[in-house]
Every structure is written in C-alpha cells, then in structure tokens.
C-alpha cells in the first residue's frame, strides 16, 4: 500500500496515497502502518485526505492500528473526506479517535 511517511512537529505523519481502504487492502494497510510506526515513538497522524472509500474492514484496520500503538502512542486522524467521515459517524467510532479536519489542524491542534 502506497504511503508517504515523514516527521513533522514531533509527529510521524503517514499520508495514504490510495483512494480506498477496503477489504482487499485491509491487511496490507495494517502491515504498512506497523512498518511506518516501527522506528520511533512519536504519535502518528494518519492523513486520509486522498481516501474516498472505506468499508467496515478498512475501519477495523484503522482501529487495529490504534490498538497496536496503544498505550504509549496515539493515532490521530486528519483530512477525512465525507464518505470516510460517514462510516466513522454511523459506527460511532468517531468518538474514540482524535479527528482533525486537515493535517495542518492536526499538527497545530496538538500544540494549541
């Protein structure tokens, strides 16, 4: 799964370069996130601004990533598009993540 990983303002920022997090790539997503997280101890911002489709398998993979990072590191979500936001809201999983409208807001929000 294609991602770009960089360090910014003490966060590890992982930007997905894919339009879909679905059942076909859910395992790949989890592996990719583990790899992106392995060298470091920063909190992770997942930039989802390019993702336009997520299903329940993709949602489960994001939850699994948060559980894998806990308790020492958190997973922060940024840039959710409307269809992604809808799945989080419908399943009420929006209540368990820190969610920011943009990557910029996530970076500054944490330092406000």
């Amino acid at each position: 799964m294609e991602v770009s990983v960089k360090t910014e303002a003490d966060f590890c920022v992982v930007a997905l370069r894919e339009q879909r997090i679905d059942a076909a790539v859910a395992l790949d997503f989890k592996d990719t996130m583990r790899q992106a997280a392995q060298d470091g101890d920063q909190n992770i911002i997942l930039d989802l601004s390019e993702v336009t489709f997520i299903d329940s398998s993709g949602l489960g993979a994001i939850v699994a990533t948060m559980k894998f990072l806990a308790p020492d590191r958190s997973l922060i979500l940024a840039g959710m598009t409307a269809p992604v936001d809808r799945v989080f809201k419908l399943t009420r999983m929006d209540s368990v993540f820190a969610i920011f409208p943009t990557l910029g807001a996530a970076l500054s929000g944490q330092h406000a």
Binding site: S56, S57, A82, R86, V87, T91, R92, V96
Partner: protein, 164 residues
C-alpha cells in the same frame, strides 16, 4: 404486470437506454468485489445520482459482498460465481445478491446491533460493523436460503420519483 426492465420509463431513461435491470457476475475474492463495485457504479451512472447516494450504494453492497467472500465462501469454491442483480423501481434501487456458499448461521443474517464502544482501547471492536451498516442504510433486507443458494434482497431508497 410488465416484465421488469420493460416497464415504461421516464423521459430521462427510455427503455432503450436504461441499464436496468443489470446483472454482474464475479468469483469470490476481495479483488473481484472491488471490480464488481466499479461495474455497479458504471451501471448506475445514467441515473446521475448524487455522489453521496452513490457512496451509500457502494458501501452497502461492499459490506454484503465482503461478508459473502469472508463467510459464505470461507472455504473457497473456485468455480462458483456471485451474482448481483440491480433494478430501478419507483421506490428506489433494488438489489439481489446470490451466491452458492455456506448458509448464514441459524439461517438468518446477523441482527447488526451497534457495537458497544468500550472505554478501553484494547477492547474496541475491529469488526462486526458490516451488518450494522447494511441494516442502517438499506431497507427491506431479506435473506433466504433456497436449496444451495443464498439470496439476499435489499433496497436503497434513493433515486425515487423518477417516473412522471
């Protein structure tokens, strides 16, 4: 009673140009589900649905199809095909999904209750959202086991009032 698909259509979709009803057949794999969803989007394109409506159709069908791939075909049957039939009627989009995999446990689909959201991160659910989403977004959900076939019917109350 007219045959489905030859009923009088609105001026926007004449019988000649209407894609309905359509059938899409594909084998049981997650990659094939992705492809099938792309074909459904193409079939629905003439309706000019709002992007939101199209996303909801795709989400509901994705959940139903992924369930079939993961559960009905937990033991793969290479030559079996899954079929989606789509039709457009006055009360929305109707889909019938047929497969020949294993039956639903107890012969009925999950209730799809909301997953309890735990305060403890390690207890958060990673699955079980699929049937909740189907039941939340679709109407007239009906599952039947007929012989060796699973038949799931559902309706999405969108693209209404398309007939004059």
């Amino acid at each position: 009673m007219h045959k489905q698909g030859t009923m009088t259509r609105s001026t926007a979709l004449s019988p000649e140009t209407s894609p309905f009803p359509f059938d899409i057949r594909f084998n049981s794999s997650k990659a094939a589900v992705r492809q099938a969803l792309a074909e459904v989007r193409q079939e629905l394109a003439p309706l000019g649905l709002d992007i939101e409506e199209l996303q909801i159709v795709e989400l509901v069908l994705a959940e139903a199809l992924n369930n079939i791939v993961e559960h009905a075909y937990a033991q793969p049957v290479p030559d079996d095909m899954i079929t989606i039939c789509g039709d457009h009627r006055a009360n929305g989009l109707h889909f019938r999904i047929v497969d020949r995999g294993g039956a639903m446990p107890d012969g009925k689909p999950p209730l799809g209750n909301t997953q309890p959201i735990s305060a403890e991160i390690e207890d958060l659910p990673e699955g079980g959202f699929g049937w909740f989403l189907i039941r939340d977004l679709a109407k007239d959900v009906c599952y039947r086991r007929i012989g060796t076939e699973n038949r799931l019917d559902l309706r999405l109350a969108i693209a209404l009032d398309w007939r004059e």
